[in-house]
Structures are given as structure tokens and as C-alpha cells.
Point group: T
């Protein structure tokens, strides 16, 4: 592990159900191999209300870290 290097990217995922689901949607859409992903840290959470006052969407802004280089 002594020389491993990680890159961190920031994304926003959303879900009509929960912030956990929103986080998983962000991870799935990152276009990265899941083998290399390690952690999704929550930066901010919010809830968006539909234009017509109907329906709410939970959104999670997260930082994803994934391995660039193994030891």
C-alpha cells in the first residue's frame, strides 16, 4: 500500500427515495470500475421540490475516491 495513489471526483446523484439511493446512483454513473472505487464521502445533502410543488427528489453531493495506482 505504500505508494498507492487515489483520484477524487465530485458528483451529485439523485433519487426519489432516499439519500442512500442518491449516493449509489452517483457511484453507478461515474463510469468507473467498481473494483477501483473505495469511498463516497457526503459533501452536502438536499431535497428538491418539483416545479409544480409535486414530488420531491433527494440529492447527495459526494466525493468519490478511486485507485489510480497500486503498490
Amino acid at each position: 500500500m505504500s505508494k498507492s495513489v487515489y483520484k477524487i471526483i465530485e458528483m451529485v446523484g439523485s433519487s426519489p427515495d432516499s439519500w442512500e439511493d442518491a449516493t449509489q446512483n452517483a457511484v453507478k454513473s461515474a463510469g468507473l470500475s467498481l473494483r477501483d472505487l473505495r469511498i463516497a464521502e457526503v459533501v452536502t445533502l438536499d431535497m428538491k421540490i418539483g416545479e409544480d410543488g409535486i414530488g420531491t427528489i433527494f440529492r447527495a453531493r459526494v466525493k468519490l475516491s478511486f485507485k489510480l495506482l497500486s503498490d
Copy 2:
């Protein structure tokens, strides 16, 4: 959209079930038309334990933004 103005208020909602539910309870109690509400941003989350050690309540402190003026 070029001159729209929003006001932001801060509230704490609670729920025995989840922080998503606590956020929705804060929005419902804000006494505002849902048509004008746009976003509930999470400021802090906590969990309160009942006086007798029984029961937990999830609380979300949120900032609600709603439209004062449309373009």
C-alpha cells in the same frame, strides 16, 4: 429568471423513521405554498434519544428557499 428573488428560512423537522422524513415534515410545517418552495438544504442531522432511553427521533435542520418574486 433574470430578476427572481428568493428568501431562505431555517427550520428543524423531526421523524421517528428517517432524516428524509424529518426534512419533509419541516417543509410541510413551513406554512408556505409548495408551489413557491424550491430546495431544502441540510445544515445538520442528529438523532435524539428519549428521556427514558426508549425511542429515537431523527432530526434535520434545513434551509428552505422559496420564491418571493418572479421575473
Copy 3:
């Protein structure tokens, strides 16, 4: 307690004597029933010096939370 909702407002109180007194002046001037107020959290403290260099005023910027809805 499971569905109680709180609103939070931000105020600045002042006093020639102390920050404790400044906080209490902010609470008294909030125009809310004291029965509904719960906590005044300090956001920032400062001390203002009179225009002529005479007299100091202690000021406390606080967030007051009060109950909108009981369970």
C-alpha cells in the same frame, strides 16, 4: 416529541455589560412567547467601540430556535 418542528431566526443583541446580557436582550426583543423559545446559540461575539472612543458595547449574534408545532 416525534413530530415537533422548530423555526430558527438570527438576531443581534447588545449590552454595555456582557455578552450574556446581550444574548438575553436579543431573546427579549424577538417578540416571541418565551414558552416557545428553547435555545439561543451563539454565532459570533464582538465588542463595538463608541464613535468618540468612549464606551464599549458587547454584541452577540445568536440563532434562536422556537417551537412551531408540538407532537
Copy 4:
């Protein structure tokens, strides 16, 4: 000045021209007497790009403080 009390509210103003203009639009829409307003502190600034990629709007989220009580 020794017992003056201020209230602080949070708003978002917008303008197609500048963040200075966005701040002034927030102040004008606050529905308060300008005599009582004192300071608009910038919390965050952003720029929104139109749905069709045409047109940009500058937005300023500000905290407005105004006098509730004079000495």
C-alpha cells in the same frame, strides 16, 4: 446604541449584469424600510447558465441585517 437589536434574514438576489446588482435586487425585494437596513453580507455567489445554454444570471446569497429596536 447600547441596547439596539438587529434581525438578520437570508435572501438570494439575481441580475443579468453583476453580483453587485444582484445584491441590490435582494435588498430592494426584502420589503423592509431602507432606513432600517444596515448591511448585506455576502454568503455565497454563483452564476446560473440558461436552460438552453444562452444567457447567464449572477446570483448573490446575502444576509441582511436591519434594526428592530433603537436605544
Copy 5:
């Protein structure tokens, strides 16, 4: 209540299901009487992805406050 003293400790709980569950697991493992615990404040939330890209764990870093001394 006028002389009550609280101690605050920091813990990380985890759960395969939700951040609410992760918070409750941290509380249960704190080895404290639930009668004395009052609040678990969320410090950070993250989601860990399994070594082999399979399975996600939700983690909550929380500060627990519990009563040392009653009035």
C-alpha cells in the same frame, strides 16, 4: 438543570442498510447506559464499497453526548 455536565465522545457506526441504522449501531456499541445518552450529532457520512466492488456499507461519524452530572 443548572449545573448538569455532559461528556461528548466521537464514534463511527456502520450498516449495510442506511445512515440512520449506522447511527443507531454506534449508539448501541458505546457501552453507555441509554438513560444517560441524549443526542448523536452527525459529523460526516460516507459509503464504503467492498474490496471486490460488491456490497456497500453506510457509515456515520457521530458525536454522542451523555450526562455526567445532574443538577
Copy 6:
């Protein structure tokens, strides 16, 4: 909107005229379709003074969010 995903990148733009202009220069240089860009949030602002004490450049560090996936 319920499953839209955004990516966020961080850039620094500059302009001899204003921070608004610096922000727009960052957006234009991002190499992204303007149709997909939504918001440029200001992270920090500064002003750089030329090596020879002549000329000032306004710089804006911004976070740009753009849509990866529509609902």
C-alpha cells in the same frame, strides 16, 4: 429529473476587468457543451498584481456542475 446525475469540476478563470468576467472565462474554457452546464459556484476570489507592480488580474475559482445523465 428523478435520476439525473451531475459531475462537478473545479477551475480558475481570470480577467483584467471583473470577477464576473473571470467566471465566464472559466466556463468558456471548460471544453463542455454549454447546454449541459448549469451552475458555476464561486469558491474563492482574488486579485493578482503584475510582477512589475503594473496591471491587476481578477481571478475566480469556481465549481462547475454539468449534467452526465438525464432522467
Copy 7:
């Protein structure tokens, strides 16, 4: 002093009189030898209003550092 090690714990003290007094109550209740304590840093201050709107309590959340190991 070159190898001294300190531990830091977080506590909340309270007092009907002042935040200075609340800080001293937290220190006295920490159950540590005063010889080893060095500094109580204020994390947050608040004022709690009694359930019946009568009586206020000043509370100080502090970090106490005390020596584990001398040089």
C-alpha cells in the same frame, strides 16, 4: 517538553450565571487532576431557556487538554 503528549476531551458545562462559570464547572467535573489540565478551548456557547419560559442556563461546550506524558 520535547516528547510530552496531551489528550483532549470534549465536555459541556452549564451555569445560571455566565459562560465563564459554565466553563469552570465543566473543568471541575472532568474528574482529572487539576495539575494535569492545561487549557479549556471554547467550541460553542449557547443559552437554554427553561421549559416554562422561566430561568436561563448558560452552557459552554469546551475541549479540555491534559498531559498524559511529560518529557
Copy 8:
């Protein structure tokens, strides 16, 4: 007022009695004309315990702003 310029310096004052007193000691020791001083903003507060566990000193770290140039 339209072109006034202020300088801000950071100091730590101390007092055996209170943080208000510590702040005033910092101001008095700043070696500036009181006519030009305007505001002392609190950055951090702490309490130091004497080497022998006897005696406590309240310390306030403050930012002092004073006028360099009037309009």
C-alpha cells in the same frame, strides 16, 4: 464613507475575571488611538489553568479593525 479603508490586526488579551475583560485588555494594549478603533471581533475564547493547578485566566483572541483613511 465611500472610500474609507480599515486595517485589521489579530491579538490575544487575557484577564483573571472574564472574556469581556480580556477583550478590553487586548484593545488597550494595541497601542492605537481609541478614536480610530471600531470593532473587536472574537475569533476564539479559551481558559488557561495555572501551572500548579491554581488560578484560571480567560483569554480572548480578537481581530481589531481601525480606520487608516477617512473619506
Copy 9:
């Protein structure tokens, strides 16, 4: 460049026109050779409203870094 040392000072500049202008006014009033100044980082921005509700002043609190020692 390997041993250059910078000092950083904090100032507030103001202007009836813009925050860019306020920043430049702070730099000009710092009483330093422009050759040695390098960067003015924005700490906070606000807008002050005249005592009589007439006229607004834009203020920028900035940190100025200037070279003490060249390599």
C-alpha cells in the same frame, strides 16, 4: 524562489461602485510598494447602506501578501 518569505496583512477597502474597486482601494492604501505586493485574497464581501437609506458602499475584506525576502 527557494527561501522567499511573505507577510500577510488584512484590510477592508470600500467603493461606491464595485467590489473590484473596493479591493483596489485597499491595495492602494496599504502603504506598500506595489512591486512587492502579489495577491489580494477576498475574505468577505458586504454592502453597507447609508444611515439615511440613501447610497450603498461595497466593501471587500482582503488579505494582502507581499514579499519580505527574496531568494
Copy 10:
């Protein structure tokens, strides 16, 4: 890993040589099995100058996380 729980404690280590060494001294003095320790996160770094102006000590304030419960 799905139910592991960690506790986090805060310590200050010191060393005449480096902040890396100060961090390792904090870890060694924590009185915990190294098998259970996982991460020492840096909170703040400083350098203390000896009373007589001779000798400098590097200090690291760190948060140590260690496992309370394995899955």
C-alpha cells in the same frame, strides 16, 4: 465489515524533529493495541518555541480511530 464500530480520540503528540514523528509519538502514547488502531487524521499542526528562544518542538493534534467491534 458491515457492523464494525470505531471510536475516535483526540491527542497532541510532539517531537523535536518533525510532524511525522510527533504523530507517531501521539499514537504510541495512546495506550491502545496497535492492532486496533487504523488512522491518525491531522487536525492542526504547530511549532512551539522554547521559553528562552532556544529549541523548537513540532506538535501535531490528531484524531485516532480504533476498532471497538468487528463484524
Copy 11:
């Protein structure tokens, strides 16, 4: 320099020796021309302890800025 644009990416580098070395490893692994890189700002530092309690790795999370566009 008046229109230069920078991009900022976030990485984590590691080293068995020091945080300086960890930062250089992150820079080398970024896959960018060193001619275009300018600054690596430290976001957080930590030290990871080996699974078996043997060996420590210093890690630096850094933001790298590199030039996209020259004037």
C-alpha cells in the same frame, strides 16, 4: 496572464517516509506534464497504520492546479 485558465484536480498520494514525499507521489502520478502543473495545496494529512499494526503510511490529500490555457 490576463486570460489564463487553470483546472484543479484532487488526489491522494502516500509514502512510508513523509507527507512531503506523499505530495510528490501524488503529483508524479497525476499523468500531467510537469510544465503545466503549478501548485499542490494540502487539503488533509493523515497516517495509516498497517492491518497488522506494523508499518505506517503517510498520506496527503492535495488539490493540483495546472494550466489549461495561456494568455
Copy 12:
């Protein structure tokens, strides 16, 4: 110690070798008697890469506190 007053100044030191060395260079260049200096707190750390991609410089932005007044 009960009335000692400290002033705090902010500086940036640099070194080709380490952040510890950069901090010591800032202290040495402050032009203050070492007898009066007490602590250099790290505000930020970064690493600058030479114009031609050759050579790196470690920089430490620090706050130095030194005694203005003894008890």
C-alpha cells in the same frame, strides 16, 4: 500571566526541503526577538512546482504569536 497580551501575525515561509523547514524560515524572517515568540500555527501548506517543471518548494502559511506585554 494574568494580563499578558499577544499579537499574531501571518507569514508564508518556504524551503526546498520540508514544511518544518519552511515554518522555521518564516519565524527567522519575522524580524522579532525569538525570546518573545511563542507559537507558529500552521494555516495552510502547499508545494510549488518550478516554472520549468524542475524543482519543488514547500511553503507553510503560519500565524506567529509573540508577547507584547508581560504580567
